[in-house]
Structures are given as C-alpha cells and as structure tokens.
Symmetry: C2
Subunit: 230 residues, 2 copies
C-alpha cells in the first residue's frame, strides 16, 4: 500500500472525543502499528448481547486483516454470515511520570478497526492468511516450516476484516504538567518501555547441530538483547 | 486476597471451547496477570449494537478492577446506570516456532473478566482508585506526586468492575509438534519475549539535581536493562 494512498476516512466512531491531536488515519501510521505486535484484541457481541474481548494472533495483508481461529469457535460460527467486530492493537512505549497524579500517562500506539468480519473460505486465501499470521510472528518463517495439510486447513479457521473504518492513536513525548506544578520537587520524566527477544530455547528433541536460520538471526539482531547483555 | 480463597467459578463464558488445560480460576494466577500490565482492553456494546474495544489504564484493588476514564466519555456515560463490559489483559511471553505451520503459537498469559461496570461516585473510592491506577504503572508513585484537586477529580472518571466471572489462560513451555514431524530439518524452539524498562528520560524543565526516587530505582533494578547494557 503506497504511502500516498488516501487516508482512511474519519467517522464518528473513529474520531476521539478528546486528545484529537493523537488521532491518525494515514495508511503508513495505521499499518506500521498493525505490523508491530503479535496479538490483537478481537471484540464482538455474544448471542446474549454482551461484549466479548479475546486475544488472538493476526496479520495484515494490504488493507485486509486476518485473524486466527484459535480464539475458539464461538466468534467463528457467527462469522460465516458476517460478524460485527472491533479489532484493537496496542503497544506501550513509555511510562509518563508527571508531577501531578492527574497528568500521569502512558506513551502508546494503538489501532482500532471496526467492521464486519467474514470467515475465509477460499483455499488459496486461507493458506495465504495462515502464512501471513506465521510471518507476523517471525518474518520469513512460513516458508521454512511444513505447510498445512488439507486436514489441518480444515481444522483452522481464519476470519477477514477489510480495513475501512480504522484509526490510530499515538502518544509520544514528555510530561505535560500544569505550569504551577513545574517547581514541585517530584522527579518527572518518561521511562521508556520496550519489547525484547531473549536467547532462543531450542526444542530438546532437535539435533544440537541444527543451525539458527538467517531470518531468526536477523530478527534477534534487530529486537534481541545484544550478546553479553543477558 | 488470600491465596486460599475459593477460586472464581467457571461459567459457560469462562470455560474455553478448546485447550481447557490452559484455563485457571485461582485468585493468585488471575490477580498476578492483572497486576502485570499497564493497559487493559475494555470491550462494550455501543448504542448502535456494535462492539467497541478500547485500550485504557487500570488497576486491581482486591477483587475490584478500576478503569480510567481516559478512553473517552462514551463508555462512561453509560456506566452511571451500569455498563456490560468485558475486560481483557494479555501479556506475550514467547514465540513458539514449531516444525509445522499448524503448531506455531505464542506463550502468553491472559485474563478475561465479564460483568457490569459502574461509575465510581464515592469521593474516597474515586481517589483510592486513581492512586491505584498510578501505582499500577509505578508502585509507590501515587504518594510522591501532587494529589488531584477537587476540580481534577471532577474531570476524571473511573469505572469499577467487581471480579466475579473471570478466568485466566496461560500457555507456557515448548513446541508441540506432531510425532511424524520431529525429524524435519527446520529449527524449532521458543524465542522468549520480555518487556524492558529503559533509561529514564528526565523532564528538561526539572532541576538536574533532582534525584531518581527509590521506588523508581527498585523498579528499574527489577525490570530495567542492567547498567552498561543499553
């Protein structure tokens, strides 16, 4: 998706009631946040009218979001004919410690997507979606593992949400204290929060000579603890 | 809450349709997960009948969950008379890389709580809840910052959910490949995922002589990069 594509439209549901300056609708911002986490929170309304929020793995392919059926069959039974969903992805980036309790905050990036999800029934799309979900966890991994058999595919459900009504919210930067609080003696500032990958734990059943694949070395070089830091 | 308290009861909504061995109902497991994150995902049903999932700060106090009103006023308007909610907290602990695509997974800890939330109107409970939400971010912080004024309290809404119908799901351990896949040449194992606090970034407006408080030193000693690792 080109960064020059028209932004996602702002709608009443995707326009915040406060802190509007934190809202973003451009593809680059929305997609980068969606591509930065392992788990999304899938919301839907149960048969009895109550809200349900379940964590599940997912992936973005263009302007489509694919969610894995491991959240149990309840939402997926409904998705054959279309299930209204809200999918939210949130990363925490910092603890914002202000001088007043009131102005404590978090630095974060989140995306909220609304729409009607449908179960993926086309076999090619189903396979592509499952590969994308694996590659969301470790880019390059899907091509390196045994593909799903027809039986496995039949056991694994995927639902698709086309990204149409979607927005990002981002808070960055430092503390926003009231001017009259600036001279209080309390320490104020931001504690950065990051996610780190640790030393791989090989499956004990695997030959000790099995090399760590290049795509994993690359990922660890980008997001892992540097050697000697563990 | 004593660890010998009776577990939360399993209900149809809190009994998973699959991987039932991952479900936990004891207070110690449920509370520890709730006490391990900065953000929960709050689900509710909007006036038009659609699901909404918003990230927000929160804290647990005993068997009560308090959610901060910074998610916007929409859910809080409904909460005066009781709002059906589902609150979910999820931590990712590892990337589980199996030999088959099918058995890829994440190690994670999640809690899902169902119930009816109410807006907190008692001034003492309101203040206690806001302090707990600050202390969830940095334990000990609430006592070190300027308390909310009456005007600030009036601007800040908190909703409470009593924990009654709540369960945890936890996946730990290694890969669960099919026996016939064990000899495939693919690297298999787990990549640990952890959250790390970085070097504090002091507010530029603060005197350079302001010491880092003890509670922050302790937190960084527990969860921060060790000195020289950054």
């Amino acid at each position: 998706m080109s960064s020059t594509a028209a932004p996602y439209p702002a709608t009443p549901r995707t326009t915040p009631t406060r802190a509007r300056e934190r809202a973003h609708y451009d593809h680059a911002t929305v997609h980068a946040i969606l591509d930065s986490d392992y788990i999304c929170h899938l919301g839907f309304v149960s048969a009895d009218g109550g809200p349900i929020v379940l964590p599940t793995t997912y992936a973005r392919v263009g302007s489509r979001l694919y969610l894995h059926g491991s959240t149990g069959s309840r939402p997926l039974r409904g998705a054959a004919e279309g299930l209204r969903v809200c999918v939210t992805v949130t990363r925490t980036d910092g603890l914002v410690l202000a001088r007043s309790g009131m102005h404590h905050s978090l630095n974060y990036r989140s995306v909220v997507a609304h729409g009607t999800a449908h179960r993926v029934t086309d076999p090619d799309e189903h396979r592509t979606a499952l590969d994308a979900i694996i590659d969301r966890i470790v880019p390059g991994r899907a091509a390196d593992c045994r593909p799903a058999t027809a039986k496995e595919l039949a056991q694994t459900a995927v639902i698709r949400l086309d990204l149409r009504e979607v927005s990002a919210k981002v808070r960055t930067g430092g503390v926003n204290d009231e001017p009259e609080d600036r001279d209080l003696p309390t320490w104020a500032g931001v504690i950065p929060v990051s996610r780190t990958l640790g030393t791989p734990v090989p499956d004990p059943a695997m030959s000790a000579e099995t090399p760590l694949p290049d795509y994993l070395r690359r990922l660890l070089a980008e997001q892992g603890l540097r050697r000697g830091q563990e």
